[in-house]
């Protein structure tokens, strides 16, 4: 294991440094950087599997001269799972990047982008391995800064720098809260090592524990993108190059999920009040619902996907929240089930979201626009990308028999098992969360019907789309890898659940893997087969079988198939792409039904011909939805800060003497206080 870890570090470090040393041979730089990153991904996959299967966690540390800072690493089941997830997406993204880099060739330094990517992958991998609070923070900061640098890759484009700045500020507000969490834990244990944090005889006062819960939620929540801290995602994720978006949305926000589980179940895990879990549950359902609702209104394909990350983080938190509630009441098997559902959705989301971002990247690669309204008809022009995107959409809409369905089903089950809880309030709240999840799922279906339908079906709506061609092989391989992962994760829960069980088993103290998998693993049944079960392989076989039956029936009843192709009936007119339903039109009923949340404003300006008002010369239509959180939460805060800064400006007079006086006064005051 130590060897694997060393090789992993070597791959990423070499991939990060070597391209910078190469002279201006951009092809070679590209190959070297992304080849190393891909190799690191392969090693990481191996490391993750080995770590998940290992009986004992692997630890290693290097002390330093700085007090409390120990470069300690620990590979336990939880960390190994996240290493696996990160490496899977990292591998696919690196292969994809080999071709995708052509987008930047000649414009930007491929060596720099490739080297940043290696650093980013390395820092993410190390974040989940870190076993010391101080070291963790350094790595966390590295991850944030490297991702910031990648977000502003195309700094010359409008909006990108603003998006980067927004991200930088949000992530640092988050970091401040994370530091607070660790300081609270440090105060009681006197050490920054995670081993100290998770010490069982650690007895933090109830109030401080709850404060740590809250600061961790805010701190990591800002990175995960939970509502209302999600506002940076739809700006930063689309701004980055697509393979970086895939990594940020697919796995970087998952490091926050990792950290939340680590803090709640590992550090503070003994016993906690029910409202912790309930808070997570509420945050989860609100994030899920609002995430998907805003995604529906988005017509920038990558922003749409970014909003879906908010949704899916919500779904993950629903599983974790339910697990926490069960944990409070000592229902450890159910707690493990909720946690397992959350973790299963974590890896699933990593796979399909990264896949979708790469699909969006491929479309962007050939059309050079992110606006869905300018796509159309791409499936005939880009069959491979289209098929991969369809698999991603199928999975994210949680339709059987894909991976999204398995994990959402598990989340549903853990919410439905709420009848075992002792209080009526929670008995009712968990099913309501399940109803929210059902609504979320249905809206996600509508959203991806829109995203796929408007982009890939019907006639091209612009010249970009008309001239689209299939993307290079390496990009297809990258996408195909993740599409395969989606299918595998969906059809083979019998492979995934035992691995996840090792994590939840170590965190909750009970192993449920043998129980969850019934009938030799063919069936997933959280309680008993009689109570509730699904069998993914059988469902898939059923679908294929009945589909073939339909084919057979059509052949038996019908005559031999002779198809005639003719243009779509357009009421006697020639049908042009302008007559197609647009994405805006598609979501119009949803916008109207949920008007209370969207608060849409519509502006229609019509200019008539002078002769008669029955003939329109020019018409202009505008519609906006109100970004609630930005308007009512962030704008006032920003305005307040600016006003305060304005007031405080008087003390900054620009005179050196005055500043020296400040220092003097402060010193005197501090001395007085010390005495």
């Amino acid at each position: 294991m130590t060897t694997l870890l060393t090789v992993l570090l070597a791959c990423y470090l070499f991939g990060g440094l070597a391209p910078l040393c190469l002279p201006r041979r951009s092809n070679l730089q590209n190959l070297l950087a992304h080849g190393c990153a891909a190799a690191g991904g392969v090693v990481g996959l191996a490391l993750g599997v080995v770590g998940l299967l290992a009986a004992d966690p692997l630890t290693g540390s290097l002390s330093s001269n700085i007090p409390y800072l120990v470069f300690a690493l620990r590979l336990d089941a939880l960390a190994a799972f996240f290493v696996l997830t990160i490496s899977l997406v990292g591998l696919a993204a690196s292969i994809y990047a080999l071709g995708y880099m052509a987008e930047f060739s000649g414009r930007l330094s491929l060596a720099a982008i490739g080297s940043l990517l290696n650093g980013f992958l390395l820092s993410m991998t190390l974040v989940v391995l870190a076993d010391n609070g101080f070291f963790f923070l350094i790595l966390w900061e590295m991850m944030s800064l490297l991702s910031y640098a990648l977000v502003v890759t195309e700094y010359e484009q409008p909006g990108v720098r603003e998006a980067g700045l927004f991200y930088l500020i949000m992530t640092h507000v988050g970091t401040a809260f994370i530091i607070l969490t660790f300081l609270i834990l440090f105060q009681e244990t006197g050490s920054f090592s995670f081993e100290g944090f998770r010490h069982p005889d650690q007895r933090l006062p109830e109030g401080l524990r709850s404060l740590a819960f809250f600061t961790a939620l805010v701190g990591f929540g800002a990175k995960a993108g939970i509502v209302p801290l999600h506002v940076w995602l739809p700006y930063a994720h689309p701004a980055a190059p697509s393979h970086v978006s895939a990594l940020m949305s697919g796995v970087m926000i998952k490091t926050a999920v990792y950290a939340l589980i680590r803090v709640y179940f590992d550090f503070l895990g003994g016993q906690f009040p029910w409202w912790w879990g309930f808070t997570i549950l509420v945050v989860g359902s609100v994030s899920a619902l609002l995430g998907v609702m805003y995604a529906l209104m988005e017509h920038d394909l990558k922003s749409l996907l970014a909003f879906h990350s908010v949704e899916n983080i919500g779904i993950i938190l629903l599983g974790i929240g339910a697990g926490m509630i069960f944990h409070t009441y000592g229902l450890h098997e159910l707690a493990a089930l909720g946690l397992l559902a959350g973790l299963y959705h974590t890896i699933n989301h990593a796979a399909f979201k990264a896949l979708l971002f790469m699909g969006a990247g491929s479309v962007l690669f050939v059309t050079h626009t992110r606006n869905i309204e300018e796509y159309g008809g791409l499936l005939r022009r880009m069959p491979w990308t289209g098929a991969c995107f369809l698999i991603g959409a199928w999975s994210i809409a949680a339709l059987p028999p894909t991976n999204g369905f398995v994990s959402e089903w598990l989340v549903f089950q853990s919410l439905f098992l709420s009848f075992q809880l002792p209080t009526l309030f929670l008995k009712l709240m968990l099913p309501i969360a399940a109803a929210m999840l059902a609504l979320t799922g249905a809206l996600a279906l509508a959203c991806f019907a829109k995203a796929f339908g408007m982009s890939f079906l019907a006639q091209p709506r612009s010249t970009h789309a008309r001239h689209a061609r299939e993307v290079p092989m390496s990009m297809r391989i990258g996408m195909g890898l993740l599409a395969g992962a989606c299918v595998l994760l969906g059809l083979a829960p019998m492979l995934v659940v035992p691995l996840l069980d090792r994590i939840t088993g170590s965190l909750t103290g009970v192993a449920i893997g043998a129980k969850v998998l019934a009938l030799d693993g063919w069936v997933v049944a959280p309680v008993t087969v009689e109570f509730s079960s699904i069998s993914m392989p059988v469902l898939a076989a059923l679908l294929v079988g009945v589909g073939l039956l339909g084919l057979l029936l059509a052949r038996m009843i019908g005559k031999p198939l002779r198809m005639r192709y003719y243009k779509t009936w357009g009421c006697g007119l020639n049908l042009t792409p302008r007559m197609e339903y647009t994405a805006t039109g598609f979501v119009q009923p949803i916008k109207r039904v949920f008007g209370t949340i969207y608060r849409p404003t519509v502006k229609l300006e019509t200019e008539f011909l002078e002769q008669s008002k029955y003939f329109i010369k020019h018409q202009r239509f505008e519609f906006h939805i109100e970004p609630l959180f930005e308007k009512y939460l962030y704008k006032p805060v920003v305005a307040f800060l600016l006003a305060m800064a304005d007031r405080l400006r008087i003390i900054q007079a620009g005179s050196l003497h005055l500043y020296l006086a400040y220092i003097f006064v402060t010193l005197v005051l501090l001395l007085l206080w010390a005495v």
């Binding site: 439905f416 009526l424 019907a458 059923l542 079988g545 039956l549 009936w569």
Partner: protein
């Protein structure tokens, strides 16, 4: 072997009975409108004829358009196979519970929406867009009403629910909760299967239709599969209602006599419910699209109340 036979019988039953149900509803409507109406067997003839016709496919479409009918058909029939029909213990019980059933139907909806968009006409897009909102709003109500039922049986597996309540001789623990859940599921059924007052299966007027608009570009065997799947979907919902809320007479064991009784009783119950739907379609007008959310909102509240009643009445 017996299990395989049961699945096969259930499959044949779903496939063969669904056109009859569609014909029956049409007949009831016709009689209530003082028309004689076409034979109850007309939908069979329609399907047979459609299968023989040469399909005309829009030249702008992709493979999604021709694959969708098979996927819709497959997902709907697969959903039907998961539930108990005339024997309370469905052999495929283990393969998926009620959530799987809901999501399998959603899979069909997804591809139907895509197919509606693929031809590139405004009508298909309109139908797809409306189907999306109706399906979206129906799903939470459906989930909660099902949960209310599942709680009384202590299981989310359909066979277990039906088997348990059948053995209790239809004794329900909290009748108000049951009735509310029933009402909610009935409204959801009307919405999901494209019935009045949500959608009108008889109209071909572009401005009012949802399902018909989505499949507007289909012809030949593809249309046949789509229509058949729509019929099966209706039958799935009807079976769900009669078996979950009134499982009396369903075969709880595999003795020939009880199976025979189960089949007869099932046919009677489903036909009865089809007549009720026919009557309702004759009594009500189609709602405006933006009134539909209120109807489905009512279904949601009903199912929520069912849940509250379930817990409070049990103490």
């Amino acid at each position: 072997m017996l299990q395989v036979l049961l699945v096969a019988v259930q499959l044949i039953m779903l496939l063969s009975l669904s056109p009859f149900i569609v014909g029956l509803i049409r007949k009831v409507k016709a009689r209530l409108q003082c028309r004689r109406g076409a034979s109850v067997l007309q939908p069979y003839a329609d399907l047979a004829k459609l299968f023989r016709k040469e399909p005309v496919i829009s030249s702008t479409t992709s493979w999604i358009f021709t694959a969708a009918p098979y996927i819709v058909f497959a997902s709907t029939v697969a959903a039907g196979l998961l539930m108990p029909v005339f024997v309370s213990r469905s052999p495929l019980n283990f393969a998926g519970n009620i959530i799987a059933l809901v999501y399998l139907l959603a899979l069909g909806t997804f591809f139907m929406i895509l197919a509606g968009l693929d031809a590139g006409s405004a009508f298909g897009g309109m139908g797809s867009s409306r189907e999306a909102i109706v399906a979206t709003l129906a799903e939470p109500a459906m989930m909660l009403s099902i949960l209310a039922i599942a709680l009384t049986a202590g299981s989310t597996n359909l066979s277990t629910i039906v088997h348990k309540s059948a053995l209790l001789e239809g004794v329900v623990l909290a009748p108000p909760a049951h009735l509310m859940a029933l009402a909610a599921l009935f409204i959801v059924t009307l919405a999901e299967t494209g019935r009045v007052p949500v959608d009108n299966p008889a109209t071909h007027l572009e401005l009012t239709m949802i399902h018909e608009a989505m499949v507007l570009e289909y012809s030949g065997r593809y249309l046949a599969l789509m229509e058949w799947a729509a019929g099966i979907k209706l039958l799935v919902f009807l079976t769900l209602i009669v078996n979950v809320f009134a499982p009396w007479g369903i075969a709880t064991s595999l003795t020939p006599s009880s199976v025979a009784l189960g089949v007869v009783v099932y046919l009677l119950k489903v036909s009865g419910l089809a007549v009720v739907i026919g009557v309702i379609e004759s009594m009500f007008a189609k709602l405006r699209l933006f009134r539909v959310p209120e109807l489905l909102g009512a279904a949601f509240i009903l199912s929520l109340l069912a849940l509250v009643f379930f817990y409070t009445l049990r103490g």
